[in-house]
């Protein structure tokens, strides 16, 4: 370190390090770098966002065509179904943006690619999450946002501060439910290596069941989608709360009001599982 200026800079950085640059700051810097890296391929970036948007909205066209011919699905009007659909997409968009990289863990484990993260001074999960920001998630967010805005105007919701706060919590909770499911599955990858297909199945289940009023599945279906695969907490329960439809639920309304809390709880549980399973990581070749 012959250059005194460089040495000074080094000392500053050391000091900053000792003061402890927060994990959050580091994570933000890394995520920003990833986003900038992907923006370099501007055309591809735009295509990915637009694709995400088109893909999510085409699913809604199906419901729209049905409801333009029939007035309701299980008593839910077009506006209400769109509200539920939009809410699900918003939660999914936030999930995609923040947590999509969870799905890469099982493949990285199989290939032994996690080693390099283990030697860096940031929690493994955070590193994996910020390394590649999922750009298509932005398309989901825009699509979900547009649909949600239109839907809430259609059903004419009275947005009290409490309702707005609940909405924010519900989106966060829905995103955490999805993240928890993915994290739990990928945690098991340390032991079982190949779980990509299970992850795909859960994807399919949430995408298939999450968008409709769960009443259409009958009591047994509702039970499964609440207590076995907690899809109901992603958007259906919060939507019944905001639309004043908790009366139709076959579970206690408190469960619907508490949906955001369930999201947090499930994520904490999944994270616990992750901490436990991570000890089973063996680099590839063992």
């Amino acid at each position: 370190m012959a250059d005194p200026a460089a040495a000074a800079r080094w000392r500053d950085r050391e000091k900053a390090g000792r003061r402890g640059v927060g994990t959050a700051t580091l994570a933000l810097v890394l995520a920003g770098a990833s986003l900038r890296a992907q923006m370099q391929y501007r055309a591809n970036f735009v295509i990915l966002v637009v694709m995400g948007l088109v893909y999510q909205l085409t699913g809604f066209v199906f419901l729209w065509v049905i409801l333009s011919r029939f007035e309701a699905i299980a008593g839910w009007s077009l506006g209400e179904v769109a509200f539920l659909y939009g809410l699900r997409l918003l939660a999914h968009g936030v999930y995609g943006l923040l947590f999509n990289a969870i799905q890469r863990i099982s493949r990285m484990t199989r290939r032994g690619e996690l080693d390099r993260y283990l030697v860096r001074p940031l929690p493994l999960l955070v590193q994996v999450l910020v390394e590649r920001v999922h750009v298509a998630g932005i398309g989901d967010l825009i699509g979900g946002g547009l649909l949600f805005l239109a839907a809430q105007a259609l059903v004419g919701i009275d947005w009290s501060p409490a309702a707005l706060a609940y909405l924010a919590l519900a989106v966060a909770g829905g995103c955490l439910v999805e993240a928890a499911l993915r994290l739990a599955i990928n945690s098991l990858a340390f032991r079982f290596l190949e779980l990509g297909s299970l992850s795909f199945l859960v994807d399919n289940l949430i995408g298939n069941f999450g968008n409709y009023p769960l009443r259409i599945y009958g009591a047994a279906g509702q039970f499964l989608l609440t207590f076995v695969l907690p899809v109901a907490f992603v958007a259906y329960f919060p939507a019944t709360v905001l639309l004043g439809r908790v009366g139709e639920l076959s579970v206690h309304p408190a469960l619907a009001y508490g949906a955001p809390l369930v999201g947090i709880l499930l994520f904490l549980l999944a994270h616990r599982l992750w901490r436990g399973e991570i000890r089973h990581y063996q680099s590839a070749g063992h």
């Binding site: 295509i47 694709m51 893909y55 199906f62 049905i66 011919r69 029939f70 699905i73 297909s197 409709y212």
Partner: protein, 253 residues
Amino acid sequence: MWMRTCITYRFSWSLDMLGLLLQIYTLKMIWTAVYAGRDQVDGVPLDGLIAQLTFANLLLWVMYPMLAGYLEERVREGTLALELARPAPFLGQMVAAQIGDTAAGLPLVVVALPLAYLLGGLLPPASPAAGLLFAVSLGLAYAIVVMTGLVIGLVSFWTTEVGGVMTIHAFVSRFFAGALVPLSFFPPWLGTIAGLLPFQAQASIPLALYLGRADGLESVRLLATQLFWVVALLGLARVLWRLALRRVVVYGG
């Protein structure tokens, strides 16, 4: 040979089938809720509707055009040269791979059929003649599906990525083929668009013949529509292929 490659991935096939069955079950639940106790709407009975949608989804699942993905992979990884050097036309090789892929999936239909019947519903053909017309129409529908896949795959010569296009195609084709909402329930303007697209010829037409919804002259018209699309898409694929080949040469310097 391709058939064997595909059978090896039995597990992903069975998951794929699970996705199909979930889709069928969801459709049944949605339409049951939409009908809300009515026996029929516009002369379409609920059980007939569910049988039709189940069958359409099964058909499109069996005929899924994997070859778009094969083509893309070859373009992206440059292994195309190998196939080009073989003494058989390249597009023919891709079509052969597709046929092998479909053939590999056929044993699974034996498993999928009863499950689809339980979760959704199925009906026998309206008459032996309807069954025969359906068989002819199904052959043409398969040709249309394969040609569509070929066209999508060829687009990868310009974009190198068709994953997103394929996902959107999977939905758009199902939707306009009438596998989610019967075309008769479309708003008129959307129905007109559907009539101008090749997708209705992939499932809606074979099904109309199967259910005996078309009389003599109408059935001829439907088969002619399918034939038109086979020829038109084949032509489009050939034009794209000629243009694409020029690009391959450019890549090689």
